[in-house]
Symmetry: C2
């Protein structure tokens, strides 16, 4: 049976004891991470969120306490009192902050016993993820996960401090809102009071934060939980968290970017001690696509795209020639420097990468030291083939890779190919952070499936002032006052200056094919709000989960969330979602399943 | 058409300008709160969340700007540049922090025009609440509401700072959880991936926060949104916010109360500058009930309850006599000092109060200066009647009020009566804060409807160590390690030391009538967690909405929430809950209504 603390209060956390504590009588509490019984002496590693403290039980000095200590097993919860002593020289552990000392235990209380855990609680735990998710509370004891949630707390704290200093108010927006199905799928909540009606959980607080600006709150932020009922890819969770920001009296994208840069600088400084530049690099969307084939480019390595359409136009290779001639199509390539060494099998694997992004194939020219290997060479005149190689800066040892297709496909395929080659060859310096803004996004893109324009960001994004003239006739030419923050090739956040005129907002809705009825039903109250005075405003949102992942170096979003869902949006620990009682369904007017 | 800011950046917020700014060229932005055209001069009150700045447009000095300014109407959004000047002595407004100065406008930009608003945006707005909820973004412009959300932000900020200083980590717990229908009604979220299954929105993060202790996070807090699908009384909202706290290695209620006291002190200091005592008063539950008839007593006034059962036992008045004899029943009274002046009608109104709480009637003795008036006098011997008056400390001019019933009914009725009389007679000093803890709650109470014991707080509450001996045979005698913080007669928060032994937790579930199957289905994973080492832990939660209400002096919870719901749990602004598309229902496997 568990013992009680009986008034024992810990002196400090386990990981905080140091040589300077030697000789002091102290109290510590924690979980047993490890125990070693050496016959007349027993060592125990006591663990809490701060680290490990070595306890030493000596039969000679404290026979009764020693005897009691032999019952100790892993994950028991202890409170101990004793004296801090230096470790013998040969026992010093230089890898532990507390490695120079130990606690000679004079009083032991076993606060809680523990069965053998389903897996061993160490950082290099080999248990499969399903088991660890089922016993999440045990997995969370691992320093690896504790660290990530501690950094998450630091980021949230730093955000609150910084935003307050900048005059932003933390304001909560509702979770039970209205479904406005432009975007991802909503999670719905049936109403009991008004049967047949539903609330929707927010995909983002977008409308509310703009309404807060219309309400005169001037500067708002929130650590906002958002929801999307999507089929989960890796690194997606049905509920995720944004650092959500909105401010009034801004018109230029730089006004918002400046606040965002300050916040990100502060977060990097506080969590990993890294000083970022005062202003981050900026790249226009068109340049990001042309050079990196991506609107979230990783610029820590080269392998930039090159447009060779002009050179291949009129060549005998019809795939290239057609793409070079057609509007909205192109032929582009990457020079994989020194990678002519790739085997046929390795090149085939690259074919798979581009095909995943819709390209029909990958053409290549392998400039092997013993001669050029290229299935497309035969379609070219020698002169033009040379010109193509030269245009790509091709030298002996290089592998030139080409895709010819619709621009979007070319960019997507080569952008992905670029990353695949860099990862394969270890070209990415993972020790650095590559931070930049992508700006000047198109306001619209054409949705092939729905055969209509859609807003590339969202329909509240303001067009660039200088592009307003194209809004009527050449909407695809209109660029947006939008900006994405890209860190190491990942979208860390994004936002825009918003439309603040009712007229322009209605034009925007009209262009994306919303009828007046649609607008009224979905956004009626929002559009009406524009009639009563709207300060110019803008904002952005950072993905908090993503930020924590970037700052703690993990690719797994589950590592940064205390109680995550699996790919089927289920919690393996609590078994949610689950069955509910018939009574609950009846009260909601929902059908009760036959049993 | 709206003008652009064109690079204008405000110098500071409207309410921040002072005499020390006189002579400076400054820029200000805001909404037009008021305008007065005096012919050749126009005054405009420019409003932002910080206050009001008077703008002055002079035809003589800046004829073009003046001409433009005549178009200004209420709620237009402006940016202005000009010079700060002192107001003429007779125009000084001592009620405004900016009342000594004005801005002589040299450049005016009308950033947004505004139609006439559906109601006038002033603090003494007379529009009905429905209209104001529909145009919530306009209502929120009123300084009254802005102030309340600004204080809310201060409280959240202070909490984050204080909790971090005390070593608490901010950790987010899931919104999509499992329904555990012990308590209020859950909001359910249908699962698309697993049709027929549901998530539940959290009523509180109780299980998760305890699991975080089991996971070794040691100290946790969260500003947690919680959900209850209840029929809304005034001052209830379907979604509400808790300051949620949990800590490990605590056993004594004082360990948690100390942290809570520190937080509340800090919040009062930072928001209203009030110094609270280091330790708050404590009152045991039994004493709170006996003296005030309430477990959340307002002790800013007297009118305490007195038990007269012993005195009336055996009197001729059977209602009193029976109640005095029966176990669990009693006769108690309040001496409403000096209130013999109450008319018959006023006393009848008091009858209604006690009846609302289930009492069958209110007996009284009115010690009027011209003689005693009491319908119950005839049942008493003169001697016993005198003894009853004496026991109540009755003097000429007093009104003695009695209820005889089951104890619970007596307490509820007299507790409510006490408040009603105090409010009616203005006995409550609203300028002070009355803060105290109520402790030593019963662990269980008997639920008459369900004919079983239920946990008075929740089934994770630890019994008092000294009462463990009653757990088996006299469970109603067992008191809990629970504590509520009561401010001005309102429950501001509450919590407990938790059970941390699997054995005791199972006993607890058993006593409240959960079968092993129930336990396994609802709390299986939680009970299992107790097998792997559990630190003793405890915590509490404050109602954030309630705290803001108390600190800003409002009785209306809607005043402290940006976008509240009405009594039908609907948002009149966005019209949530609403209809959704058939496609959405089909994807969720929900029936599509016939149209």
């Amino acid at each position: 049976m568990a013992e009680s603390l009986n008034g024992m209060k810990r002196t400090k956390l386990c990981g905080e004891f140091r040589l300077s504590d030697v000789g002091k009588t102290v109290t510590a509490t924690g979980f047993v991470a490890k125990y070693r019984n050496l016959g007349s002496i027993q060592f125990v590693d006591l663990r809490d969120r701060s680290g490990i403290l070595q306890l030493s039980f000596s039969e000679a000095d404290h026979p009764e306490v020693f005897a009691k200590s032999t019952a100790i097993r892993n994950e028991f919860v202890l409170a101990v009192r004793g004296t801090i002593a230096p470790r013998g020289e040969k026992n010093v552990n230089p890898n532990l902050p507390t490695g120079e000392i130990e606690l000679i235990v004079e009083e032991l209380r076993i606060l809680s016993e523990a069965d053998t855990t389903p897996f061993h609680i160490v950082d290099d735990c080999k248990a499969n993820e399903q088991l660890r998710l089922k016993y999440r509370y045990l997995d969370l004891r691992r320093p690896y996960l504790q660290h990530r949630l501690i950094v998450r707390d630091q980021i949230v704290r730093t955000t609150a401090e910084y935003m307050a200093k900048q005059g932003f108010l933390n304001i909560e927006t509702p979770f039970l809102g209205k479904s406005t199905p432009e975007g991802a799928r909503d999670y719905l909540v049936p109403s009991r009071v008004k049967q047949g009606a539903f609330y929707a959980l927010p995909q983002s607080p977008q409308l509310y934060k703009q309404l807060l600006m219309i309400a005169g709150f001037d500067r708002y932020y929130q650590i906002a939980k958002c929801f999307r009922d999507e089929d989960l890819r890796a690194n997606r969770q049905p509920e995720f968290t944004q650092i959500d920001i909105e401010m009034s009296y801004v018109e230029d994208i730089a006004d918002v970017m400046k606040v965002a840069e300050g916040l990100i600088r502060e977060i990097f400084k506080k969590t990993i001690g890294l000083d970022l530049p005062k202003r981050f690099r900026r790249l226009k969307y068109s340049e990001a696509m042309e050079r990196f084939g991506s609107d979230k480019p990783d610029t820590r390595f080269g392998l930039e795209l090159q447009d060779v359409s002009k050179i291949v136009k009129g060549c005998g290779f019809s795939v290239f020639d057609n793409a070079a001639r057609k509007k909205g199509f192109s032929v582009r390539g990457i020079n994989a420097k020194g990678m002519a060494k790739f085997t046929r099998k390795e090149v085939d694997a690259l074919q798979d990468v581009v095909k995943e992004y819709g390209a029909k194939g990958l053409a290549y020219i392998s400039l092997k030291p013993d001669g050029i290997s290229s299935p497309i060479a035969k379609f070219f005149s020698e002169e033009r083939f040379r010109a193509l190689i030269d245009a790509m800066g091709g030298e002996t040892g290089d592998l030139l890779l080409f895709v010819a297709d619709r621009d979007k496909t070319v960019f997507d395929a080569l952008g992905a190919l670029r990353l695949a080659v860099a990862r394969k060859e270890g070209l990415i310096d993972e020790s650095t952070y590559d931070i930049l803004w992508v700006t000047h996004f198109p306001l619209y893109e054409y949705d092939e499936e729905e055969k209509r324009l859609v807003a590339m960001h969202h329909p509240f994004t303001s067009p660039l002032t200088e592009d307003l003239k194209y809004l009527k006739d050449k909407p695809l030419k209109v660029r947006a006052k939008a900006y994405d923050l890209v860190i190491n090739g990942q979208e860390a956040g994004g936002g825009s200056i918003r439309i603040h005129s009712a007229e322009l907002q209605e034009t925007m809705f009209d262009r994306i094919g919303l009828t007046e009825k649609d607008i009224k039903e979905r956004f009626g109250f929002f559009v009406e709000a524009f009639r009563y005075g709207v300060p110019p405003h803008g904002g952005l949102a950072f993905g908090l989960d993503r930020l924590v992942m970037l700052l703690t170096g993990t690719d797994n979003i589950k590592d940064v969330i205390a109680f995550p869902k699996n790919q089927a949006a289920a919690c393996l620990m609590s078994d949610a979602p689950g069955e509910v009682e018939d009574k609950q369904l009846i009260e909601l007017g929902l059908p009760v399943p036959q049993k």
